[in-house]
């Protein structure tokens, strides 16, 4: 998909882009499903073993709402500053699909008298150092369908396998207004949303498929296209970029964009037409007669409010205040709960917030990005990270080799001690040893030596070559000093 990213600017089109998102968040911290007592830790388990008559939709069974799911949804609603109506309703969304045990989904609805668990609300993001408010339409609870597995691609598979372990898992659907103006804003919004949800302790977004997204995108004045099947937040920007280019090309070619639903193919990195407006489902929503409306008292809301943990924005302010780090860094560190936790756990072991922050910002995050993983997907622990920093303080390794040690820690999952021992990163402080390297370099680069005699600035080049030869383990101060002495001696001789 690298090509699509590059071509993003191919059309210097000033047309306004309108993006709205529908995010499905599994409330993974719930112990049981939304309407039955089945356990929720189904990932990696034998298919169709985390099921009961209720989530299989067997004839005669009835749903019973998991009260904890309501608690969680109210908490998210409060964090996103939604209005929490005092009465909320479940609706049935009817359509036929083999992943739906009942061929209808118990969901919520905000038309025809339906009231979801949260109305309105907003999320603030920072883009180009400017604060921007993204408004929400609603948040609502619904049940996750089962999972379909194909043999290869959806079009060529001979059969479809269905696993209902996921059926009935609690989903919170969060719908935004079309307030996002670029794929990048969409990504920043999702990052912020995920951080908020993880700070609340209602979901772990790193679990596969636990946060999914549908997107509506259009160029102002053009038709809206819905992109479905974006199964990770990472793919959102890619999918939107692809779609934006497609629509801009069509516009440039004078082709009208068709109002339709498109399917994101993550492997091929393209969107494929799924159905046009005329083929849209009529979901025949109606109030779920098997459930009674849920009365949410002000006391209930206040109780949840009093239990709310610290949110990312507050944590960011605290980081700036207590740790004296720049606002930008504090923003990056709180963009993910796991990262913020990592940072603070390091501070507990090594009370130098700025040093830790700098190392995270400049090195750790870059390596994680290269590997396309998140901090909690790597094996590096705060203990290991802090130990590495302490080895710099004690002079066991140089700052320069520390960077390499960290890279190996992340890539190979080894503790710093092991890497230092195996790869000889131990700092060389012995003048005699370093002098041998300096002599070698002087022989290898006679022109640079001549330059250095004329101007001290060239000493840096020579010292750099020593560092390279010693893979960064030579003490830079001693190295510089030895080179300088030798150059000074040559100057004297020349005079």
């Amino acid at each position: 998909m690298g090509t699509a990213v590059e071509k993003d600017n191919m059309f210097s089109d000033s047309d306004e882009v309108l993006i709205g998102l529908e995010i499905h968040v599994q409330l993974t911290k719930l112990k049981t499903k939304l309407f039955c007592g089945c356990a929720t830790d189904y990932r990696g388990k034998e298919p169709n073993t985390y099921v009961c008559p209720i989530c299989l939709g067997l004839p005669g069974t009835l749903p019973v709402v998991n009260k904890k799911a309501i608690d969680f949804a109210i908490m998210v609603g409060l964090a996103l500053e939604c209005e929490i109506p005092l009465k909320t309703f479940f609706y049935r969304k009817n359509y036929y699909y083999p992943d739906m045990p009942k061929n209808y989904q118990i969901s919520q609805y905000n038309k025809a008298g339906g009231v979801p668990i949260g109305l309105g609300g907003h999320v603030t993001i920072e883009i180009n150092k400017q604060k921007k408010t993204i408004n929400l339409t609603r948040i609502q609870l619904e049940e996750d369908p089962g999972r379909l597995t194909y043999l290869g691609s959806i079009t060529s598979s001979d059969y479809t396998l269905v696993d209902y372990n996921r059926a009935g898992i609690t989903l919170l659907e969060i719908v935004t207004e079309p307030d996002l103006r670029s794929p990048r804003e969409a990504r920043l919004f999702l990052q912020k949303l995920r951080s908020i949800i993880e700070h609340l302790g209602v979901a772990d977004g790193s679990l596969e498929g636990s946060m999914r997204c549908d997107a509506n995108i259009s160029i102002r004045g053009g038709n809206r296209v819905e992109v479905k099947n974006i199964s990770s937040f990472k793919a959102v920007q890619k999918a939107l970029q692809f779609e934006l280019i497609r629509q801009r090309r069509q516009k440039a070619d004078g082709v009208k964009t068709v109002m339709e639903t498109r399917h994101w193919d993550d492997e091929k990195g393209i969107t494929i037409s799924l159905r046009t407006k005329e083929e849209e489902h009529d979901y025949r929503y109606f109030p779920e007669p098997d459930l009674v409306p849920i009365e949410i008292t002000p006391d209930w809301i206040e109780k949840i409010r009093s239990q709310m943990p610290e949110l990312p924005d507050a944590r960011r302010e605290r980081f700036i205040r207590d740790y004296q780090i720049p606002p930008y860094d504090a923003g990056v560190l709180t963009s993910s709960k796991a990262l913020a936790d990592f940072f603070e756990n390091c501070i507990k072991l090594y009370n130098h917030p700025k040093i830790i922050s700098n190392w995270i910002m400049s090195d750790l995050l870059r390596h994680l990005n290269d590997l396309n993983i998140e901090i909690n997907e790597s094996t590096v622990t705060p203990e290991q990270f802090v130990n590495m920093l302490k080895y710099i303080d004690t002079g066991t390794i140089s700052r320069r080799s520390a960077k390499k040690v960290l890279w190996d820690m992340i890539r190979e999952g080894k503790p710093p001690e092991q890497i230092i021992q195996e790869d000889g990163h131990q700092r060389i402080g012995d003048e005699n040893v370093i002098r041998q390297f300096v002599d070698e370099i002087f022989k290898e680069y006679p022109q640079a030596v001549q330059d250095a005699i004329k101007d001290d600035k060239a000493i840096n080049f020579l010292s750099g070559q020593v560092m390279r030869k010693t893979r960064g383990t030579a003490d830079p101060k001693i190295t510089y000093q030895l080179i300088k002495e030798k150059i000074d001696l040559l100057r004297k001789k020349a005079n």
Partner: protein
């Protein structure tokens, strides 16, 4: 002395307790009876003779060796085949569920078993409880024990016919639009639909969830009260059940009914009501009057709209409730390995009979974009207004009275080809479902040897009052004691 199978649960309860009879003897007596009459009646889809005998033996042992004596200890009970019974086939009288064996018991079944009741079989019904005659069953036509050419009513026709023919002591039915009361009326039985939310629906295979309740079909009011003692109560598995305090419905049966006020809506006695029916109802009113009850003729105008309101709501809910029958996880599956799943769904769903298909299609239509407001939403509004009109009357009257069915039983085949005519015969029963109010049907006379039912509708949660009035009526009449002329 009468044969065991002719007795009521209440009578048998003390006999079993006193050791005058064993549960095993009672079961054998019933299965002898079933053997003689069932070929004519065809009330059952599944008979559980061996199961029942084993259970009776275990129970006899338990009764001898412990202090256990449940309300239903040793009492045989027949279950309508839309109520799930663990490891026992539950078909809804549909080809769709011909091979369906539930892995769990409905809450009412758990309650019955906990009280020592013995399930002897699953009874015939209209397919998915959609009908007034039990003729839409995939399996068989059940015959009215009072006249074999007539229908037993529906949709709980098998349950009512089984009790009427003495092929069980008690039976469970379900009532979505009159499906307990109609067959009670047609088979000369006592049947009650309780206030919505009083009995758990968990395990009742849904037709229209917001309208239906499970309930008893019994030989008299006392058995009805006895069974309600077991069935009524909050169920954590059904969110729509109410938190009613524990009630002993038997305890208050004897209380006086003097001074009660009855309202008789003229809409229940309209032109469609057979003369013999209206005569029998008026006789009943005058008898009640003699017990110190007063009455007025009143009007509840929206009753005229109860039938369309009921059918729109019922069909809409049904179209969604029955969507799960696609043959993928259980139930009927076409012999076909290839094709798009929509094709396979569509072919599987041909296993539904014509009445079920009709209701699914009409319900789908009523919920569709552009029609929802016109039909479904309007029906919900009518529902609220109708309930308001009933509530207004309950300020002046304790009970609303009328016939259960406008006529005596239809002949087999008379109605099946004219669904609209059949729907219209629900005029007297559906209002109680639409409003969620309790209603009981008791025998009040005969015309040409065919039974007539009297319906009493009470205010919400007033089952005790309904039972008390009905009990007093049965104390002073013997319609309910008459046995059908089927011999055996």
């Amino acid at each position: 002395m009468a044969s065991f199978y002719e007795l009521t649960a209440y009578e048998l309860h003390s006999m079993l307790q006193n050791g005058d009879i064993t549960a095993e003897e009672l079961i054998y007596s019933l299965f002898d009876r079933i053997q003689k009459t069932e070929t004519k009646i065809k009330a059952y889809i599944t008979l559980l003779k061996e199961n029942a005998i084993n259970q009776a033996r275990l129970l006899d042992k338990k009764l001898r060796n412990s202090n256990f004596f449940g309300i239903l200890a040793g009492i045989p009970i027949a279950i309508k085949d839309n109520i799930c019974t663990k490891n026992i086939r539950t078909t809804c009288s549909s080809k769709m569920l011909d091979n369906y064996v539930p892995p769990y018991n409905a809450t009412v079944i758990e309650r019955i078993l906990a009280e020592g009741g013995i399930i002897i079989g699953k009874t015939n019904m209209d397919e998915f409880a959609m009908g007034t005659t039990t003729e839409s069953s995939y399996y068989q036509i059940t015959h009215n024990p009072w006249s074999l050419e007539h229908v037993p009513g529906g949709s709980s026709g098998g349950s009512a016919a089984a009790v009427a023919a003495d092929e069980t002591i008690l039976a469970l039915g379900s009532d979505t639009g009159g499906s307990i009361r109609c067959p009670a009326s047609f088979c000369n039985m006592t049947g009650i639909k309780v206030s919505y939310g009083s009995i758990s629906r968990y395990g009742l295979i849904s037709y229209a969830c917001s309208l239906e309740q499970i309930g008893p079909l019994t030989k008299d009011v006392r058995d009805c009260a006895l069974l309600l003692n077991v069935l009524v109560g909050r169920d954590p598995y059904d969110s729509t059940t109410l938190n009613r305090p524990k009630i002993d419905f038997l305890a208050t049966l004897d209380e006086d009914i003097k001074g009660l006020r009855i309202g008789i809506p003229k809409e229940f006695m309209g032109t469609g009501t057979a003369e013999a029916v209206s005569k029998a109802v008026w006789n009943a009113v005058h008898l009640l009057e003699s017990f110190g009850v007063t009455y007025d003729e009143i009007s509840i105008p929206l009753i005229d709209y109860a039938v369309p309101c009921y059918y729109i709501i019922a069909m809409s809910e049904a179209s969604s409730n029955l969507a799960r029958y696609d043959g993928i996880r259980y139930g009927y599956r076409v012999e076909k390995d290839e094709g798009e799943w929509n094709e396979i769904f569509a072919e599987d769903r041909l296993a539904f009979g014509p009445e079920v298909r009709r209701r699914i299609m009409l319900g789908t239509y009523a919920l569709s974009a552009g029609y929802y407001d016109m039909y479904y939403l309007k029906a919900l509004k009518v529902r609220t207004l109708l309930r308001n009109q009933f509530e207004a009357q309950f300020k002046s009257y304790d009970i609303i009275l009328g016939p259960t069915m406008p006529t005596t039983p239809f002949k087999i085949g008379e109605m099946i080809s004219d669904p609209l005519a059949m729907y219209r015969t629900d005029i007297d029963t559906v209002a109680a479902n639409v409003t969620g109010l309790p209603a009981i049907s008791i025998p009040c006379g005969f015309s040409d040897g065919l039974p007539i039912g009297l319906q009493l509708i009470g205010n919400s949660l007033q089952e005790e009052l309904l039972l008390r009035v009905a009990y007093k009526f049965q104390q002073e009449t013997d319609y309910h004691k008459k046995k059908p002329p089927i011999g055996g």
